[in-house]
Amino acid sequence: MSSKEILSKEEIAHIAKLARLKISDAEAIEYAGQLSKALGYFEQISKVNAGAIEPLVTPSDIENLWRADEAHKELSAEELVANAPQRTGQLFTVPPVV
């Protein structure tokens, strides 16, 4: 996709759905232009010949870290629900999930 192509309405709708973002039609038009420009800019990395090099996902050299399987007292349930937008006792009130 070159920077001359603008992401279509359907593509923007698809991305917004994946990202669980409800955006207005005006926002969709604005973002389509800006996102297309950014993606066009990203495309230059295709010029780099990377062969079969393994992607670097973290600069940290650490691999597995082990600790004893011991329970520790951390935060209480009350502390953890204190920021709930809506609650029922110590339960978070939510729309139907299933």
């Binding site: 973002l21 409800k22 800006q34 600069p59 920021n83 937008p85 999930v97």
Partner: protein, 496 residues
């Protein structure tokens, strides 16, 4: 002791020997905040318990206890760091009422060294920005000229520190967010090696790039703060087990025999403000005069640093910000009834209303780059280029001990100048992002001032980058430059 100029050690020593109380010290800074912050908007939330914290420090000293190397030193904390009981927003509407039940490890370590928390500092929303203009709590202004940006994303930290509204401040740096505002505001900003400082309790933007660091008025203060903040944390599996060096004790300005690298690809002069070029050249000359050897190094893949950075950062952000869903904390959109509500509508409206535009843009960019059909060409490919870039830096560090470069192409720009063109804003980070990609430590040291052509003279910092875990070398060169700059500890005059 002049609290406008005093170092951390001087303050701690005076407080511990009762020459000044921690309460008086805190009051000095809270008064300055009252006096000047309406002009800057550097604080989002003030900690009303600051004097109580200080009184507790005084009480411990009265009992003969030692509160630590930062005893009584008042700090501003960037609003990306969780502070127990004190609202933490990441400058976003989606967290505007969030009160963490715990401290970030960095905050806990500052407190256990005797520091007093004054409040939470302004920033770009979720640390996404280079100007502090995306904050949901208003723009922050550069104390050197309030029509200009302080930089970002740690704009509030830089502005507050430059105006000496706090003795020390914390920032986070994912693509330059400590170094760039430090340069724009004339203060010292250090981003350590990835893994040096714990990210536990810091709102995550891009987890393989984020690092916390000190933003201070002097290199000596940065060195001490770095020591206090660093070290293995069982709660952050990416932290290094390497022993934390005695950064403060071993700080010196000896540069004789050091090899200072200049990246050939960074020294293209078109697009570089003449005052920035002059400042960098003067810094090189200063080090050469002191016995350092200047060597040219080549890191060709820096040509792709900005697109690789934004691609990876947006992808990681799209994943990290998925947790803001209105369920357990944070903003939830208003609904008549939850009982009949479609779940995607619940998420979609909450996130659509709670996040600002730049955040939504980056989430969408990242989602696209990670999505089926695009993952290989975008995210994977960027990861490959990232590994190659890191290897090129390792080769460069076989030839030099520290790299010196500009921090930005120009001094601070006007509020409103770049915000309408996201891509133009991204290009601000051209000299800083490769450091995060490679996981290297970097810092900005004030070294020059721009010529006054109507906007007043503005600070220009120079950037030092060192090999992995070689912060001491970088700090030492920083000290040498600071001593030669004539600008050491210069505080912005906010009266103008």
């Amino acid at each position: 002791m002049d609290l406008l100029q005093a170092s951390f050690s001087e303050i701690a020593s005076a407080v511990k020997s009762k020459k000044i109380s921690a309460v008086e010290t805190t009051r000095f800074f809270t008064k300055r905040i009252e006096q000047f912050d309406s002009k800057l908007n550097s604080f989002i939330t003030l900690d009303r318990t600051a004097e109580t914290q200080a009184a507790a420090i005084d009480a411990r000293i009265a009992k003969g206890e030692d509160p630590g190397p930062l005893a009584g030193v008042p700090w501003g904390i960037k609003d990306m760091f969780c502070t127990k009981g004190l609202r933490t927003t990441a400058a976003s509407k989606i967290l505007e009422n969030f009160v963490p039940p715990y401290d970030a490890t960095v905050v806990a370590r500052l407190r256990s060294s005797g520091a007093v928390v004054l409040g939470k500092l302004n920033q770009d929303e979720f640390a996404m920005g280079s100007s502090n203009e995306t904050s949901a709590f208003g723009v922050c202004r550069n104390p050197w000229n309030t029509k200009l940006v302080p930089g970002g994303s740690s704009g509030g930290s830089a502005a507050a520190q430059a105006a000496r509204l706090c003795a020390g401040s914390t920032g986070t740096d994912t693509g330059g967010s400590i170094r760039q505002p430090a340069s724009f505001c004339g203060i010292v900003g250090v981003k350590p090696t990835y893994g040096r400082i714990s990210r536990y309790g810091i709102v995550a933007y891009a987890s393989s790039l984020d690092q916390a660091g000190p933003m201070t008025n002097t290199v000596a203060d940065a060195a001490l703060a770095l020591e206090v903040m660093s070290g293995r944390d069982g709660r952050d599996g990416t932290t290094s087990t390497l022993k934390v060096p005695a950064f403060a004790k071993d700080l010196n300005s000896q540069v004789k025999g050091l090899r200072v690298g200049v990246i050939r690809e960074y020294m293209k002069t078109e697009g570089l403000h003449p005052d920035v070029l002059k400042t960098v050249q003067k810094a090189l000359e200063t080090l050469r005069t002191q016995g350092a050897e200047i060597v040219e190094v080549s890191v060709p893949l820096t040509e792709y640093s900005v697109p690789v950075y934004y691609l990876i950062a947006a992808s990681e952000a799209s994943s990290n910000l998925a947790r803001y869903d209105g369920v357990k904390y944070g903003y939830r959109a208003r609904f008549e009834s939850l009982a009949e509500l479609d779940l995607d509508e619940f998420y979609g409206r909450t996130r659509g209303e709670g996040f600002g535009k730049e955040v939504k843009r980056r989430i969408m960019l990242g989602t696209y780059c990670l999505s089926s059909g695009y993952y290989d060409a975008y995210y994977n490919k960027a990861g490959q280029v990232r590994r190659m870039l890191r290897d090129q830096f390792r080769e460069a560090f076989a030839k030099c001990d520290v790299i010196l470069s500009p921090v930005t192409t120009a001094p601070a720009f006007a509020i409103g100048d770049r915000i309408s063109d996201p891509l133009a804003m991204y290009l601000n980070d051209i000299y800083t992002v490769s450091t995060n990609l490679a996981g290297l430590p970097g810092m900005s040291v004030p070294f020059g001032m721009s010529s006054d052509n109507g906007s007043g003279s503005l600070p220009i910092g120079v950037q030092l980058t060192a090999a992995h875990f070689a912060e001491q070398t970088m700090l030492n060169v920083g000290l040498a430059l600071e001593l030669a700059s004539g600008l050491k500890g210069k505080v912005a005059d906010v009266q103008r």
